[in-house]
């Protein structure tokens, strides 16, 4: 049975970003971005290359300090209390940033310990079996293919049953069976555990079939936020999200 309407209303959003500005070396990439993801919602972040999607995810993961603005994870400020805020976060880093000189098993063990877990979640071990990742466990990460690295990055993000899962192009390089397994697993987490998902992606089919909401980032600003109802309506149309994005991008230009 799900939580009551009253408790759901009181529940803080899994992610709240307010007036966020961030960049590299004095060059702003994100400009005054505001966004909120309530508990139990899958938000797809869309945008062309270089629009600032990964930068936004780095800010949410605490890997990049924003110039101004606020990031809250489950009501806890990531700027003021990063340690407490990060307990609710699962972040899948880019596959090429995984430590090549550790084995997959060592990565899982170290990440679980760093998150303060008493044990590696049984569900993650189960998903590892379904990904056919177990034979790769004792090999060095730098010998992995892109897809295998991607699986490891996702497994690390799912450790410790996070309330907010942040994924950057997580389906790149995954074989169709593993991608399907992961999409369904994430959808189950969203529906049954009220976990929230923030996925930066270019795969519009994933957005149309699995996401609840979608936001379009252009030039470091959120220019369009499609609500759950709008995404459902777009699913029914022939051109769907692709045409809608083109129309918004043309309008913004």
């Amino acid at each position: 049975m799900g939580p009551s309407a009253g408790s759901a209303a009181r529940e803080p959003p899994a992610l709240r970003i307010a007036n966020l500005t961030a960049g590299y070396g004095g060059q702003p990439v994100l400009k005054d971005v505001s966004l909120a993801i309530p508990a139990g919602e899958w938000l797809a972040l869309l945008g062309p290359n270089g629009s600032g999607k990964s930068t936004l995810l780095y800010c949410v993961a605490g890997m990049l300090q924003p110039t101004t603005g606020e990031v809250e994870l489950c009501g806890v400020s990531l700027v003021r209390d990063p340690r407490r805020a990060k307990h609710t976060l699962g972040f899948a880093c880019a596959p090429e940033r995984l430590p090549g000189l550790l084995t997959g098993r060592q990565c899982l063990e170290v990440y679980a310990a760093a998150k303060g877990l008493r044990q590696v979640d049984a569900e993650v071990l189960d998903l590892m079996e379904r990904f056919a990742f177990a034979p790769m466990l004792d090999r060095f990460v730098d010998t992995y293919s892109l897809g295998t690295r991607q699986k490891l990055a996702v497994l690390l993000a799912l450790l410790g049953t996070p309330r907010l899962i942040v994924l950057d192009e997580a389906f790149n390089g995954l074989d169709p069976a593993s991608a399907k397994t992961l999409k369904r697993y994430l959808r189950t987490l969203v529906e049954e555990r009220r976990t929230s998902v923030l996925l930066a992606t270019h795969a519009l089919d994933v957005v149309e079939r699995y996401a609840d909401r979608a936001a379009l980032l252009l030039g470091g600003r959120i220019v369009k936020d499609w609500s759950a109802a709008e995404v459902t309506a777009l699913r029914a149309t022939e051109d769907g999200l692709e045409e809608a994005i083109s129309a918004v991008a043309a309008g913004a230009a």
Binding site: G25, Q65, L102
Partner: protein, 363 residues
């Protein structure tokens, strides 16, 4: 329709590897202007070395034997070119310029970098000669002899290469076409020199941060791989003065191998601290736990290496050598502890631009 370029630079434009090489190097210099200063400092240091180490007689002796200089230059140039040619041929399937219609031949591309290196060496020798107040004629003879050696080597290589190409073409024309196996694309991964440890039975039921300690030691093992060791050892042995005994040369080689490992361990600790801090940034790992887990294995290895050095000193030179070796060994351990702790704390503390810039630079 675009009109083709017909000026004097057309030949260069049609050789994309030449253009990309030029653009890449000019971009590097534009991006890190500090390199100019470093180059100026190196040349000044060479001039000072030439002056204080009285390199004048040595350079004059070399200039008196131009054939020897030319032969040495030719050998070095040919070896460097052949090695680079082999490497380029291995990487050719992944080369983004291959699909373009025209480019320099593989041999010409391979000779480019040794030619640049020759230019650098020539500058260094000239700086040393200026410092040692060597006459211009001596300097000119040295440069001309070595340039002649390089030119002769490149001409010989070009002749051999053209003969080999012709004979392979004629073989291809005679024999029916067949699929040739692609060249080996195997590039040894860094972990080839690191060992996979047997996992703990309780890794999933009681996860520990300790395996993080394998990262810096594996990094040091990769940097300390046999190829690198052999090259540095060769340099060390060739720098030993004539007349030293075999025992001394062997002792110097052993000490050098241990010192190289210690240096690589320290650098590995610093580099992996930044990379690991970035990787673990989304977790709530504490500074003390992170630093202890990352550095403990590397520091134990540093202590063991220092103990080995001190022990060897005692075995060779008795108590006096032991007393001489002890303070630097203790100092090194202290330095390694301070530097690795500072790197861990800095890596975890300095979020934002400074760390991301440092991280990019280190990769």
């Amino acid at each position: 329709m675009l009109a083709p370029h017909t000026d004097g630079l057309t030949w260069v434009r049609e050789r994309p590897s030449l253009r990309t090489g030029w653009l890449a190097s000019s971009n590097v210099l534009r991006r890190w202007p500090l390199l100019w200063l470093i180059a100026a400092l190196v040349l000044t240091a060479c001039a000072a070395l030439g002056h204080f180490a009285s390199m004048g007689p040595g350079l004059a002796f070399a200039a008196a034997e131009p054939i020897l200089v030319a032969a040495l230059s030719a050998t070095a140039f040919a070896i460097a070119t052949l090695r680079r040619r082999k490497r380029l041929a291995t990487r050719r399937p992944h080369d983004w310029l291959v699909p373009l219609p025209r480019d320099l031949s593989l041999g010409a591309r391979a000779a480019g970098m040794p030619a640049v290196i020759w230019g650098g060496v020539a500058l260094v020798v000239m700086a040393a000669a200026i410092g040692a107040r060597v006459p211009v004629s001596v300097c000119g003879t040295l440069l001309a002899a070595s340039a002649a050696g390089c030119l002769i080597a490149s001409a010989v290589l070009a002749i051999f290469s053209s003969v080999a190409t012709r004979s392979s073409r004629s073989r291809r024309n005679r024999a029916p076409p067949r699929l040739t196996p692609p060249p080996s694309q195997f590039v040894p991964p860094p972990s080839r020199y690191a060992i996979v440890r047997r996992p703990r039975r309780t890794w999933a039921s009681d996860p520990k941060l300790r395996p993080l300690g394998y990262w810096p030691t594996a990094q040091a093992k990769f940097w300390d791989r046999p190829k690198v060791r052999a090259r540095t050892l060769l340099l060390l042995l060739s720098a030993l003065p004539l007349g030293v005994t075999g025992a001394v040369a062997l002792a110097a080689a052993v000490v050098w191998l241990i010192v190289l490992h210690m240096l690589n361990l320290l650098l590995g600790l610093i580099r992996s601290a930044f990379a690991a801090a970035w990787w673990l940034a989304p977790t709530a790992v504490g500074r003390l736990r992170f630093s202890a887990a990352l550095a403990h294995r590397g520091l134990v290895a540093e202590i063991a290496s220092c103990a080995l050095l001190v022990g060897l000193s005692y075995a060779v030179g008795g108590a006096p050598a032991f007393h001489r070796a002890l303070p630097p060994a203790a100092g090194w351990i202290g330095l390694a502890c301070v530097l690795s702790a500072t790197a861990c704390l800095m890596a975890l503390r300095t979020q934002s631009v400074a760390r991301s810039v440092l991280h990019r630079w280190m990769h």
